[in-house]
């Protein structure tokens, strides 16, 4: 392919691609991101290719391996175009039937469709599935339509038109004012207005300036940036190039975690293809603007998501934040003005340029515009990535899109904002998601992690878990963070082990204050949030652990015991046989008894006891009833008595 050298050539080229594409030609798309691979999409892809060949359809049917569609709970997902028939949880054995029935005969295979649990109806089209219906998939939606390894797919959906518009029809001032007007705020954590950040760099002195993509997504359970970079890398590159044009940068970096090999692969392919087409490199589209991008792989440190630590790591040194009181958009990478935004922020930029700031600002709340992608995980029916307009309530996200809590359990809290965020309780479910709204509730937007917890989750243990994560991920440079969290983790661990002391809460609050006020970077300053937010909304749980040595959620192993109710035990032998510690005594027609000394509290007996008996009980904060005497253990069954 030869270079595209002007705006007219780009549009001509795009027309050429579209003219070769018949919208009525059957096309099978299969999600092929990392999560999809984990659920077996590579095997499915191989069979589809083989089967199309076998059934003589290779030339009359298109097959496209796309990025993540978001509904990971039900992956791998196939969507057949143009009818948009959506099949879920596809296994290799389903493929021959899909091709012979749906592709050849145009018949829908009922068993592979989504069943709406409410109405108990089958749903044919992807967009009508409740998981998708309530979303606003502006940034993420294209993932399902393009093969990220083929730039032509991105061009076919209008890709790089925003860049062309910027380079040929707008001055850099106009672009900046559009981005500022849109009030796009950083999707990576801080929520800083992107336009102001760009302006700071633009006005800063210096010939050499940088633009950087933060793809060091590190929050447990969050993977929206991975899915975007894997599934639509050109949208990120296009946004980045526009940012570079605004601030006058000619060199960009993508800092991506090493744990994301597919993202690294796809973005490298995208860069190469964009360079070949003249959309990156020297004299982009013949405009005279030069811009190159390099990919840098991080070594897996959460703290490198912090802007100055990321830049230090990019310079080739240990990823530790800088103590400077100067913004990195003025003094950043190698001491030069550097704009750092995360993957999702950059991917929003082409949309704003194409559709205008007013269009973008229509969506959302007063101070949080546009959409946000959340990674909805935990105790939720529909695990996956969801993109919703800012201002949607947590309740709608969790119940309408997420399908609520599985297993008939009760919702307890939702943790947003990653390890530095906080837990939001049931009474605040009608909170509208937005940067300021979440912060006010003691949590934060962060990069969009959303972990749903049900009644079985112990909130003290949640705080302990996140502190454990952060003590491991802290760089260890400053005292309030390294030492403060070391002590906080010890105290929280003691509380969950039933060794909490009366003044522990006050001490934790003091340590939180020091870390929050005196830490060097945002990691340390926000590290107490998991503790502070759970204390704010679930103080009674802390007190129960400390004062009564009781875990109200019946979750902390050291504080619970399993007990078999002799009145309910039917001596069915199931728990006795399944107990891995051989801690259950009993036999046929002999009531079972747990030996508390041997019990490892693995919970197997509790899980296997048939619900119609419900004999195994979990107890906490009360003494285990004494085992019934040997002589009283025999069950005399009425039917046999006669």
């Amino acid at each position: 392919m030869s270079r595209i050298n002007s705006l007219a050539e780009l549009e001509e080229f795009r027309k050429g691609i579209l003219s070769k594409r018949d919208p009525n030609k059957p096309c099978i798309t299969l999600c092929s991101g990392s999560a999809c691979h984990a659920s077996g999409s590579e095997e499915v892809a191989a069979i589809i290719e083989e089967e199309l060949e076998k059934q003589g359809l290779s030339s009359s049917v298109d097959f496209r391996k796309t990025g993540c569609h978001g509904f990971c709970e039900r992956g791998p997902i196939i969507v057949i175009h143009p009818e948009e028939i959506c099949y879920l949880q596809i296994e290799p054995k389903d493929v021959p039937e899909i091709i012979s029935q749906t592709i050849k005969e145009k018949k829908v295979i009922e068993r592979l469709l989504y069943t709406d649990p409410g109405a108990n109806e089958k749903i044919i089209h992807e967009s009508e599935i409740p998981f998708y219906k309530y979303q606003e998939r502006l940034v993420f939606g294209s993932n399902g339509n393009i093969d990220p390894k083929r730039i032509d797919d991105y061009l076919a959906i209008g890709g790089y038109s925003a860049l062309a518009k910027v380079l040929f029809r707008m001055t850099s001032e106009e672009v900046l004012s559009e981005v500022k007007k849109s009030n796009l705020r950083g999707r990576g954590g801080g929520g800083f207005p992107a336009g102001s950040k760009w302006e700071g760099s633009r006005n800063a002195l210096g010939e050499i300036k940088y633009v950087i993509v933060n793809a060091d997504e590190g929050d447990p359970g969050a993977y929206m940036d991975r899915a975007l970079l894997e599934g639509n890398p050109h949208s990120v590159l296009e946004g980045l190039t526009i940012g570079a044009y605004v601030i006058g940068s000619h060199e960009g970096y993508i800092y991506v975690r090493q744990e994301y090999p597919l993202a690294v692969e796809n973005v490298n392919i995208a860069i190469k293809q964009a360079q070949e087409y003249g959309l990156l490199g020297k004299n982009i589209l013949g405009s005279g603007f030069d811009f190159t991008v390099k990919v840098h792989q991080g070594a897996g440190a959460f703290v490198c998501g912090e802007s100055t630590a990321l830049m230090t790591a990019l310079e080739g040194r240990a990823g530790e934040p800088r103590p400077k009181y100067v913004r990195s958009n003025v003094v950043g990478l190698w001491g030069r003005p550097s704009v750092l935004n995360n993957v999702e922020t950059w991917a929003n930029v082409p949309l704003i340029i194409n559709n205008g700031a007013d269009w973008f600002a229509q969506l959302g709340t007063e101070n949080s515009k546009g959409t946000k992608i959340f990674s909805l995980v935990g105790k939720i029916t529909n695990t996956g990535l969801v993109e919703v307009p800012m201002g949607m309530t947590l309740r709608d996200i969790i119940y309408k899109i997420g399908g609520g809590i599985p297993g008939g359990k009760r919702f307890k809290a939702v943790q947003t904002g990653g390890p530095s965020g906080g837990c939001i309780p049931e009474e605040l479910l009608d909170l509208e998601v937005g940067f300021d709204e979440l912060t006010k509730a003691g949590s934060m937007m962060g990069s969009g992690g959303m972990i749903v917890m049900d009644e079985d989750t112990c909130m003290v243990d949640v705080a302990r878990y996140f502190l454990d994560f952060l003590t491991d991920e802290s760089c260890g440079k400053c005292v309030p963070c390294r030492e403060g969290m070391r002590q906080m983790l010890k105290i929280l661990t003691n509380i969950t082990h039933g060794k909490g002391k009366e003044d522990d809460i006050e001490l934790l609050e003091e340590l939180s204050e020091t870390a929050g006020d005196a830490s060097l970077c945002a990691l340390g300053r926000t590290a107490p949030n998991p503790f502070l937010s759970t204390l704010r909304y679930f103080r009674d749980e802390y007190e129960a652990h400390i004062k009564e040595k009781r875990c109200p959620a019946l979750s902390c192993k050291e504080l619970i015991a399993y007990h078999i109710d002799p009145k309910k035990c039917q001596a069915c032998m199931i728990c006795l046989k399944k107990c891995p510690a051989e801690a259950i005594a009993g036999g046929k027609n002999r009531i079972h008894v747990i030996d508390q000394e041997k019990c490892t509290k693995c919970g197997t007996c509790f899980e296997v006891c048939p619900p119609r008996f419900g004999a195994v009980q979990k107890i906490s904060g009360e003494p285990v009833p004494a085992p019934i005497p040997e002589e009283a253990r025999t069950i005399i069954r009425e039917s046999k008595q006669k």
Binding site: A301, P323, D472, G476, K477, L489
Partner: protein, 210 residues
């Protein structure tokens, strides 16, 4: 020379542009405690004990004096209830590592820090980084460095470099506020001169070659 006037603890202080609050305060005879600061080294901002309150354009914030630069009309308070509380906590956290370090003990007296507030930790090191930075920035040898991160972070001599550079230098020793550095050095020497890790089979011979 452009003199910048600011106020530290109610006293008018003149400073040069680019000076840190710590330098300005010291030049005016006002004491701000430090643990990781050294004149010859780049500001590190790690121990956070030099935290002070600054008031500028109507808002108050906490900053570390060893990094924050002087500004015209800045109002600085080197002691306040909040500052003292932070310093006390930092000292108590560090005393769990090095309860007998004289520098920490003196400060503990000043700020009412209880050396037994937290359970004692195994290492004496308070991670001030003076040895690491002095070796890198002044001696340019990098014979001692930090390894690992978070709560597992510790100082360690790099045996290959230390065996060549350290025996006759040891300039970092007096910088260490605790006994940790010497301990790490003794350990390195013991390991490096043990018959097991030396091809010549004799540490003295090896050292004699330097």
């Amino acid at each position: 020379m452009n003199e910048i006037l600011l106020q530290i603890d109610g006293k008018e202080v003149g400073a040069r542009e680019g000076m840190t609050l710590l330098m300005a305060a010291r030049s005016a005879g006002i004491l701000i405690p430090t643990l990781c600061h050294h004149e010859k080294l780049e500001p590190y901002g790690g121990c956070r004990i030099c935290m002070v309150e600054v008031e500028s354009r109507g808002s108050t914030k906490l900053v570390v004096a060893c990094v924050y630069q002087v500004e015209k009309n800045l109002v600085v308070r080197t002691r306040s209830e909040k500052v003292d509380r932070i310093r006390k906590m930092i000292l108590e956290l560090l005393l769990a590592h090095a309860p007998d370090a004289p520098e920490l003990q003196d400060l503990a007296k000043e700020y009412g820090a209880d050396k037994d507030r937290f359970e004692k930790e195994a290492s004496f090191c308070i991670h001030c980084g003076l040895c690491v930075r002095y070796c890198a920035e002044v001696k340019k040898k990098n014979a001692v460095g930090f390894i690992d991160r978070g709560i597992r972070k510790e100082i360690s001599f790099i045996p290959e470099i230390a065996s060549k550079e350290c025996w006759n230098c040891k300039e970092c020793f007096p910088l260490c506020p605790t006994e940790a550095l010497q301990a790490a050095f003794v350990l390195t020497r013991a390991l490096y001169t043990s018959p097991l890790s030396n091809k010549n089979g004799c540490g003295d011979t090896y050292r004699g070659q330097q």
